[in-house]
Symmetry: C2
Subunit: 354 residues, 2 copies
């Protein structure tokens, strides 16, 4: 184990406005602001996880104007904010955040994190980040690649060269988009494929070089914003004109020196209600039960109750029940993603519930 | 159609304290006091159904002391009450009610009804009762037998002699207890079997004669109560000492002159949540939906919401969701009777919810 790297900065991407955790997540309270466990929200836990590795003063949250206030209330005054005037995907968001930090510090090493993921083993996670930071200091753009535990078709994969180790990582062969079931099974069998969790570590100069080479228009807009000292007005003028593109597609896939650090850290993107089984302890019948509930002969279900109401289930299997102050959601666990269809229907019928 | 029989009296049995409609039904608000549809409770609908056939002044409700006040609030002042100091099953309850009415009127014809059933066609129902009343006036104890619509194993059956018609009914061959699935199928095939719905019509003297013959101890207690003018004190002294026995087992099975009037009147005992499909109109996907709800791709389910909360379901099948002010119940439709197991568990853990 190496000592904490005092020069590491963090960007936490908190622009998400997903609805897959409706009705707990709402437009005004997206997933990263939700507390799944206990009192602390996912964005707070993302910051907690960096304790001892990145001091609060070196953390910036990138989010939209509507979410600055509720997010700041949670994370406190020491954390900085970089405001995206509109959503332009992760490419411009990370490029802007990185440029803002580099405007104030000399070639910082920056780690980028989604704000709405879960990590069971934060200590292991920090050790992986320290390794990534060391490799980044050699000029690589480094990703944390999650050791796959199933042939998941919902994530992108990172293929690495086992014959080219660097420190505790490897040189990346290439990025792969979400595979079909056969491909996912093959990736799992071959062994040198990791899940792309959207976690990156790089020196600001390394990312900047790739942006200049691959996305010159974006580089020019960043220069204009830097010339305007990243004041609100100049960002509001330039940022909306940036190309809407993910960092994976826009920069990583074409980057010259990319490395990955494998991480088996109990990671979950907590992508929908059924994924709570990856996050929570289950009872003896494989249920996740949170809040006031009584279950009789109930199996493999998720009961998530944020109210004083009693949730009572009998002979229930593979079902998600979520209770908030104004909504009761019931959906089969295997169809948890169908919450999107409900959200779409409410969009038409009663958007006040969104 | 015959004209209304002015001499008909009614006993409505409202002693039930069942929990199969928990959480809507509670100890303090049993099923018969619940409003399943609109504003009127099942006991009110039982009385509404007799309109034009039995005037309110000739209706007595038989129930326990705790339920007199909430029931009277619903049904109004004209309805009489016969109070059972404790539950002794339908035999003593009907015997007492009948004796009380006969104490004040000369050999009345009395119809007995459960208070918590549903009848889709009240007009047909009244016509069947009028026929039953005419047969009763000839000295028979008459039951209304429901034409079976499925090989139900949850009801007793009445086998009648198709070769011995009386008026619009038949002489009863015998009563059968709840059958197994094979027997139920055979009953349905044979055709001369009807469901026992607990609806009886008789002259008070006919029932009295059977009680004297079959249950002399009960007859003696009724005499003691009559000698005491059925005052509360004498009932409280004598009634608890009566044998706990159903009218079917205690009197009907051994009775000498029993007839049945077949009735296809859209009857349901609304025995559990899944039975709401017999009572309510369903939507195009065979769902019963009552109250504030949005359903996407949901089939053959029951959504019963008594609150302002939105119930939202997606890709749900064959599931019962009930929402009251303090409970959310979720149970597979085929396991609706498992509500009993929940009630038993709450008895231990948190009886305040019962």
């Amino acid at each position: 184990m190496h000592s904490t790297d005092p020069s590491l900065f963090a960007l936490v991407l908190a622009g998400g406005s997903g609805t897959r955790f409706w009705p707990l997540s709402r437009r005004a309270r997206p997933k990263q602001l939700m507390a799944l466990q206990g009192e602390r929200s996912l964005v707070e836990r993302t910051i907690d996880r960096l304790e001892g590795l990145v001091p609060d003063e070196r953390i910036h949250i990138v989010c939209g104007p509507d979410h600055v206030e509720p997010t700041q209330k949670l994370v406190g005054e020491k954390i900085g904010f970089v405001v995206e005037p509109c959503a332009r995907n992760t490419g411009p968001a990370i490029a802007l955040g990185s440029a803002v930090v580099a405007h104030h510090y000399k070639d910082p090493t920056i780690a980028v994190f989604p704000s709405d993921h879960y990590v069971r083993n934060p200590e292991d996670f920090r050790a992986r980040l320290e390794a990534a930071s060391r490799i980044a200091d050699e000029g690589y753009i480094v990703t944390l690649g999650i050791e796959p535990t199933r042939p998941e078709t919902g994530f992108g994969y990172i293929q690495y060269r086992g014959d080219q180790p660097i420190d505790e990582g490897y040189v990346v062969e290439r990025f792969h988009e979400k595979p079909d079931a056969d491909k996912a099974m093959r990736y799992l069998d071959e062994g040198n494929y990791l899940w792309n969790a959207g976690i990156f570590v790089f020196k600001a100069s390394s990312l900047r070089a790739e942006i200049e080479r691959q996305r010159p228009a974006l580089a020019a807009r960043l220069d204009t914003m830097a010339a305007g000292d990243f004041e609100r007005e100049i960002i509001e003028q330039e940022f909306p004109r940036c190309e809407n593109i993910s960092i994976d597609y826009g920069m990583m896939e074409g980057a010259e020196r990319v490395a990955v650090v494998p991480a088996a850290v109990g990671w979950s993107d907590v992508g929908h209600w059924a994924a709570l089984h990856e996050v929570f302890e289950t009872d003896e019948h494989a249920n996740v039960v949170q809040g006031n509930a009584i279950t009789v002969d109930t199996r493999e279900s998720v009961i998530f109750n944020k109210t004083d109401t009693l949730v009572a289930t009998a002979s229930l299997e593979d079902t998600v029940v979520v209770v908030t102050d104004d909504v009761v959601l019931v959906v089969p666990r295997s169809k948890a993603q169908q919450v999107r269809a409900l959200v779409a229907a409410l969009e038409e019928r009663d958007p006040a519930y969104l």
